[in-house]
């Protein structure tokens, strides 16, 4: 029973990776097989996001969701991007090595990092394969919504309007419903493994993106540190949308940071797919995506980076992807996602308390260990000795997202000033800040290591 379900999940997630890697190939980034291996995580996340974004639109217009529909989506989607690649003149990747010899120290450091991360993932697999459904949000609405899509084949009006969180976007329930189909039934124990695959994809994506941009001695310790912080350990496999929205946002933001550095146009396309996914994963995904694109636009304008219009186009596409779901719930008579007065009616005391709470949560070592502190030091060092442009992009984006968390507490008057997750989402929200800070730390430190001559 469980082995069959696991095999189904393996096939589903392999299909996500194949779809996303085909997309990357059509964008012309997979020149060698080593590139496919290095960017497998980015491809996987792009596959998850594009599948989720596409099916959100399809469900809104009433297309039924079912097993054959899932198979057809993968078949038609993968074939379509492959045809696009052929039209654009892409050829199959050639050879394995990338011809960039790395030092023995770098090779062995990478091996040690991969081994440690692999052991951690193995331990996580053992913990999750028999996990029960306990998290409140998971059993109260995320999983029931997925069951509704699985059993009724669409956005059942009663389920989606009467359960808690009716404005929460449906991407995660869609992925979960696809997992139920892949497993052959609503196995709410084994389906936790779907979240293990998402974590695996996120780790592979961040490591793969930074592998050529940060020395392994900086990349792997930072990555392992992020993985083992107490809060991530406790929340990674909870069947909610918090981790996925953070991952889409952080990998999208890293792609934008690297685009600002090297101008690789494929990075914009991949970032657009991931940020569109973020807008349909959780409500704050809209804020994250808007902040990432706005800061990238500002940076590109300041530094006169060519290709800014494509960034604008990407931003418009991300916004367009987010609209139909909002129209659907508005049509169903559900109120908006933001506070009615945008929080302008609160007191100064509440504002100060909200900011203080956000600071307390961010620097709570019981939640995030020393990740924010190290990131802050790396940010300061990069501003002084390293790549100031990168540091400014990361710093401003972190600042906006951090202030966004304080604004959430401040503007929703019914949210008490407390870190208690049952009544205030600030701890879950701050995960995005910490993950971005932790993922950017190797890049920032590497720029310090190489010095300013390494700036692009």
């Amino acid at each position: 029973m469980t082995v069959r379900a696991i095999a189904g999940l393996l096939a589903l997630n392999g299909a996500f990776a194949l779809l996303g890697l085909s997309l990357l190939w059509s964008l012309g980034v997979l020149l060698r097989w080593a590139d496919a291996l290095r960017l497998a995580g980015v491809g996987y996340l792009a596959g998850v996001a594009s599948f989720g974004v596409l099916w959100t639109q399809l469900l809104v217009i009433g297309v039924p969701f079912g097993g054959w529909g899932i198979v057809a989506t993968f078949a038609v989607g993968t074939a379509a991007v492959c045809v696009l690649g052929l039209v654009l003149g892409r050829s199959l990747p050639r050879g394995f090595g990338d011809g960039r010899g790395s030092s023995t120290t770098a090779l062995l450091t990478t091996a040690a990092g991969v081994a440690l991360t692999g052991l951690w993932l193995e331990a996580l697999f053992r913990a999750v394969r028999l996990q029960s459904l306990q998290a409140y949000d998971g059993w109260a609405f995320w999983v029931p919504k997925a069951k509704a899509i699985f059993f009724f084949g669409g956005l059942d009006e009663q389920v989606f309007t009467m359960l808690p969180g009716p404005t929460y976007p449906p991407l995660v329930p869609i992925i979960n419903a696809a997992a139920f189909h892949a497993m052959g039934g609503v196995d709410t124990v084994t389906f936790h493994l779907q979240y293990w695959f998402l974590v695996l994809g996120a780790v592979a994506a961040i490591a793969g993106l930074l592998q050529r941009r940060a020395h392994p001695a900086l990349l792997w310790p930072a990555l392992v540190l992020v993985l083992v912080v107490p809060r991530f350990g406790a929340g990674l496999l909870t069947p909610q949308a918090d981790v996925l929205v953070d991952v889409f946002f952080v990998v999208g933001a890293l792609l934008l940071a690297l685009w600002l550095s090297d101008g690789g146009s494929w990075r914009l396309a991949a970032a657009a797919v991931l940020l569109a996914g973020a807008t349909l994963t959780k409500r704050e995904g809209l804020l994250f995506a808007a902040a990432a694109i706005a800061v990238a636009l500002l940076a590109a304008a300041l530094w006169r980076r060519p290709g800014r219009r494509w960034l604008v186009v990407s931003g418009l596409l991300v916004g367009a992807a987010a609209v139909p779901w909002r129209l659907w719930y508005r049509h169903m008579g559900i109120g908006g996602e933001a506070p009615s007065d945008a929080g302008l009616g609160g007191s100064f005391d509440r504002l100060a308390d909200s900011l203080r709470l956000s600071f307390d949560v961010l620097f709570d070592t019981g939640l995030w260990s020393v990740v924010p502190l190290i990131a802050l030091v790396a940010l300061g060092a990069a501003l002084v000795w390293g790549d100031r442009r990168l540091a400014l992009f990361v710093g401003v984006l972190l600042g906006i997202v951090f202030v966004g968390g304080a604004w959430v507490t401040y503007s929703f008057a019914d949210i008490p000033i407390t870190a208690d997750e049952a009544v205030n989402p600030i701890v879950r929200y701050t995960g995005a800040v910490v993950l971005l800070a932790g993922a950017a730390t190797p890049l920032l430190l590497d720029s310090v290591w190489r010095g300013r001559e390494g700036q692009t």
Partner: protein, 122 residues
Amino acid sequence: MTRTSARLLAAAIIVVPLLAYPLMAVGGARFPSRDDCVRLAPEGETGALDLVFGRRDTVAEAERLLEQVRGVGYKDAELQGDGCGRWKVLYDGIESYEQGASSAEQAHGAGLEARLELEPPG
């Protein structure tokens, strides 16, 4: 160290712990099987009991079995998920092991494969 030996060492650093850890973890939680949802009642059991007439993979198959069981005379027999992905047909009006054993024997006489099981918790 030559390039080839460095690559071999790197491969060993990755592969050895990743293979060793699952081997060392033998004795941990095993994969559950369908049989984990079948708990036959030991003789003389005094807890709550069910007379189970069989399990089927689909609701349709289980409904056919239910019809057959009711046709024999177990009018209050019912259909339930067994918690391991199958559907079982059962009669839950058993009040003692002796009564259940006698009912199971009568069911066998009518061509049904009935077994006395412990009622699942909850």
